[in-house]
Subunit: 426 residues, 2 copies
């Protein structure tokens, strides 16, 4: 039998324990910490996660017999174990880098000067359009490998650097290819309305017409995406365009996500609640009323602290979102422009130090919150019987080191679906 | 012949080019960037670093013949190469962790409450006193291995968690042992006056008497340290105690370092200038006048941004220090209390984004500035003929990715003294 694994001598097992009961407040602070624990994964699914004592010798012997020689046994050496991280907002498929532009921004050059020098998302669009599928696969694979080494076992990936039919589909096809080639689970999101392409300059509604008429149906027909997302922002895709795009996507069976109220408050968070979106992300300028509506509608709030760090913006009010009853996901927003980082360790340190989250809330946001943001909270994000066997063995005695060892990657080994896919076995 | 290495196909060779001429302003912004470069290291020392074209076939053939079969050839595959990082301020030899205290502080608990719960440096002192030499070697080795993987080829390490004769010497002995066991060069610093031990509570001057009479002479006699350092701070070791301690250390042949003006402005930076210290670090509250005196006296300014990040303090005015003419070193301050991090990537991102340093200044501060802070600027810190063959091959086309790929470790391979000591050869 494949994907059977027994992990013993876990010094500390830390896992969120479920949240978001229907019509209830999300329980972001509920983390179970078990000392001297063990985990048993059978056929990729957790069958036991709890005290060592609960997995007595007869049961281990029976499992060994059932699994046969395929059962892998890992001695965690007293280390801590947590669920695999879920990075629920990334743009990891792109070509071209913008390191010069990053330094121009860091040096305080005005937006128009950066634009004059050729900065901006259009560069990434041009490079991605010019890239072959193989180029994009190779670039994406390297980024996923880095993420896996940081403990990410499920990642969301968005299109949005094509802004045309062909390249948008190619980005999504690349994710489909990569899903088959490496261990990280990929949840693909169509983000055709990421920006207004040059061909539609000044005509965002016409671009949305095109996306609804030609791109969305192709994406849906080929089942290339699970979600549709839009950059809902003043002067780009405002509420009316966002609403009709998202409604069209919903009719095609796609789940809904929004980049909402990042730069100006136009009510994107409220729209997410109105439409019952799965998540709305960024939210730096969202109103308290709209956050309350999101909580009511059980829209997961996506907090992207690495972007705020890199852009030197104030952080989103993650504390307020949790207090309002939202489920919170913390994600990297990896992209070539505003945030070329997938550093979960840095996001974790910022959450505890600057977002005023507890360690429990931070772990939940990086695991179960991310899972909820992808509609997968019933399958991943915590270490409970019935869930996927995705977990991390940390080079630390406690999961608290995820924040305490600030900015450092303390992931030693990664188990994905019951298979050791990164790091040593002991 | 050992430690001979030839690196070709370097896409970008980036190196600081020297600063701090006698009586001149430090040149922190002078970085040479060479495209299509090669480096040749003979017997651990750089003999060529420059354009590929400068290392023509006859020369390579001659080098091969001279080196014989011992010459290692690395194809950098178009990647960027920079000097090894010099982490010039760390406390990497200690036992015991304070992760709970980190979270208490993050949650905003008042200082006295943290003290009541048993927080503070006394915990680290108790744990380090209780640790055996072997314990400390094992802990220190793991931390050095993490630093090496981040590209640190030279590290300063301080004692200061013993605060008694025996443990202070043991910490320094541990560094001597570790220097012989692993590739990172260790520069040991005696920091007996790191805090006032319980045995001398309320009597800092009596503790300094003890250190001068009993500990310093033992350290000097056994040649266990190259520098002496002190926590010069209001209510701890003020100016008079600091001066007599440092003067005593100087008489014994030790170079001088100070933790200066971190919490309150008492003139530690000015004292560093007066005594001709090699460096003064922290400097969050140092006066502009004292920074000017440091520049005049060529005292290297040590900036520790990870500590400010972790403590949520305002960052030191690194920009002002450079503008005043100081050589600047950026270091991690790795320690179990105020900053359990050795993340050079995070320090680099903070420097460019929040300290208003250019990429050139940041690279210089992490390499040649660190070297100057250890009195080693003539031997390490840049890639020039005659210097040690300490360099990094980055998983990136340009050294700009050190900041752009924010918080991510992009060090692929580490060459130390002409030997590949970490990462793949190609």
């Amino acid at each position: 039998m494949a994907n059977d694994i027994l992990i013993t001598n876990i010094g500390e097992l830390a896992t969120p324990l479920g949240f978001c009961p229907p019509a209830g407040k999300a329980a972001m602070n509920r983390v179970a910490v078990t000392k001297d624990a063990a985990v048993l994964i059978r056929d990729g699914t957790i069958v036991y996660a709890g005290p060592d004592a609960g997995l007595d010798e007869p049961r281990i012997a029976a499992e060994r017999a059932a699994a046969g020689p395929g059962l892998v046994h890992i001695d965690a050496g007293g280390r801590a174990v947590v669920p695999g991280f879920v990075d629920s907002h990334t743009h990891f498929v792109f070509a071209g880098y913008r390191d010069d532009e990053f330094l121009w921004k860091a040096a305080g050059l005005p937006y128009m000067e950066i634009h004059r020098r050729g900065g901006g998302i259009a560069r990434s669009v041009a490079a991605t359009r010019a890239a072959t599928k193989d180029d994009l696969i190779s670039l994406g694979a390297a980024r996923l490998a880095a993420m896996l080494s940081l403990g990410v076992t499920t990642v969301e990936g968005k299109s949005g650097y094509g802004l045309d039919l062909e390249t948008e589909l190619r980005q999504l096809e690349v994710m489909r290819e990569l899903a088959a080639r490496q261990p990280v689970t990929i949840v693909p999101t169509f983000l055709g309305p990421h920006s207004i392409p040059a061909e539609y300059a000044g005509r965002p509604s016409a671009y949305i017409d095109f996306v609804i008429a030609e791109v969305l149906p192709a994406v849906a027909e080929q089942r290339l995406a699970r979600f549709a997302d839009i950059f809902c922002e003043k002067g780009i895709f405002e509420l009316a365009d966002s609403r009709r795009y998202l409604e069209a996507a919903r009719r095609l069976g796609l789940g809904l996500k929004l980049h909402a109220d990042e730069i100006e408050r136009i009510g994107g968070a409220g729209l997410a609640a109105e439409l019952g979106a799965t998540s709305a992300d960024h939210l730096l300028k969202a109103s308290a009323e709209d956050i309350g509506r999101m909580a009511q509608a059980q829209v997961v709030a996506g907090c992207l602290p690495l972007t705020a760090f890199t852009l030197r913006e104030p952080y989103a009010d993650a504390r307020g979102m949790i207090d309002a009853g939202c489920a919170l996901a913390i994600a990297s927003d990896l992209n070539p422009g505003s945030c070329y980082s997938q550093s979960i360790p840095l996001a974790c340190a910022i959450a505890v130090l600057y977002l005023k989250l507890s360690m429990e809330e931070t772990l939940t946001a990086l695991t179960l919150g991310g899972a909820a943001s992808l509609g997968l909270a019933d399958r991943i994000g915590s270490l409970e019987p019935g869930k996927a066997g995705d977990l991390l063995i940390l080079e630390a005695p406690s999961y608290r080191f995820l924040a305490y060892h600030a900015g450092m990657n303390i992931v030693r080994s990664v188990v994905k679906g019951g298979r050791l896919v990164h790091g040593p076995a002991a």
